[in-house]
């Protein structure tokens, strides 16, 4: 039982347990916190796979951004310590069937498959390469998506403002 293994299992269990909690807990704010834990644990996973940059983004964007947004919205829309009414039986049942069925089906098919690693040498994932590729326009350069994302974010921004702002109808 080496270190990484232990860490991985810790993270994995954390992820599963907390995600279950986050969809199960009847205190909405608590659910949000559970979600936060899941996200953080995932950042840990990324870090273990040498994707420091990604891990960082995960922490900043998700933990720092989305969860906060969610919590704000919670505060805007509902009382924190009021218990949410439990899910309907029908929903619970059908949802469970689907989810479990999905897990089984997916897992079986995935485990049947032997993934074929490529033989080419790995490239380092330090900030330099990441940065260069992120703005590269040639093969495996991600300038175009980067630009498009900007437009998407712009649209999202305008849209959210448009919807959320109160004054004008």
């Amino acid at each position: 039982m080496t270190g990484p293994k232990i860490i991985f299992f810790v993270l994995a269990t954390a992820i599963v347990v907390f995600s279950i909690l986050s969809i199960a807990s009847r205190k909405i704010l608590r659910a949000a916190i559970h979600l936060l834990f899941v996200l953080v644990a995932m950042a840990g996973l990324y870090y273990m796979m040498n994707f420091q940059f990604l891990a960082a983004v995960q922490l900043i964007l998700y933990a720092g951004g989305i969860v906060v947004l969610i919590i704000f919205s919670i505060l805007l829309t509902s009382q924190i310590n009021s218990k949410l009414d439990p899910p309907k039986k029908s929903h619970l049942l059908s949802g469970a069937v689907t989810a479990v069925g999905g897990i089984v089906l997916a897992t079986i098919t995935i485990l049947q498959f032997a993934f074929k690693p490529s033989q080419e040498p790995a490239i380092s994932t330090n900030m330099r390469t990441v940065g260069r590729q992120l703005l590269g326009t040639d093969v495996y350069g991600y300038a175009l998506p980067f630009e498009v994302i900007s437009i998407l974010l712009l649209a999202a921004l305008v849209g959210s403002i448009f919807i959320a702002r109160k004054n004008k109808i």
Binding site: I23, L39, L54, L69, H91, I110, P145, A156, A164
Partner: protein
């Protein structure tokens, strides 16, 4: 630190699968729009695990999965923003965020 030696890929993929469907479960059963949103976030993250894992384990010679994960995060953020604005909009119109009450359009 290198995970390949220690943990087989399947673990990660299965993990992501589980998380994915847990998220789906959340979407399906929770009656609060915001918690549904959380479920969706879970699903997206599960997918991210896949991308990253594949990239790390199988195709380390490029960063496709890595960047895809990055993009997904960005989009998730945008999605969340829009979602929340819409939820607030709903809250204004229906004075609730319970999804069961948002069923005036039907049949």
């Amino acid at each position: 630190m290198n995970l390949q030696a220690e943990i087989p890929l399947d673990y990660l993929v299965v993990l992501s699968t589980i998380v994915f469907f847990i998220g789906l479960m959340g979407v399906l059963i929770r009656r609060n729009l915001i918690t549904m949103l959380m479920g969706i976030e879970l699903m997206l993250n599960a997918v991210n695990i896949n991308f990253v894992a594949f990239n790390h384990y199988l195709f380390p010679h490029r960063l496709e999965g890595h960047f895809f994960a990055l993009i997904v995060m960005a989009i998730a953020a945008a999605e969340a923003a829009i979602a929340i604005s819409l939820i607030i909009n709903i809250y204004r119109q229906f004075a609730t965020v319970s999804v069961d009450d948002v069923d005036e359009l039907k049949h």
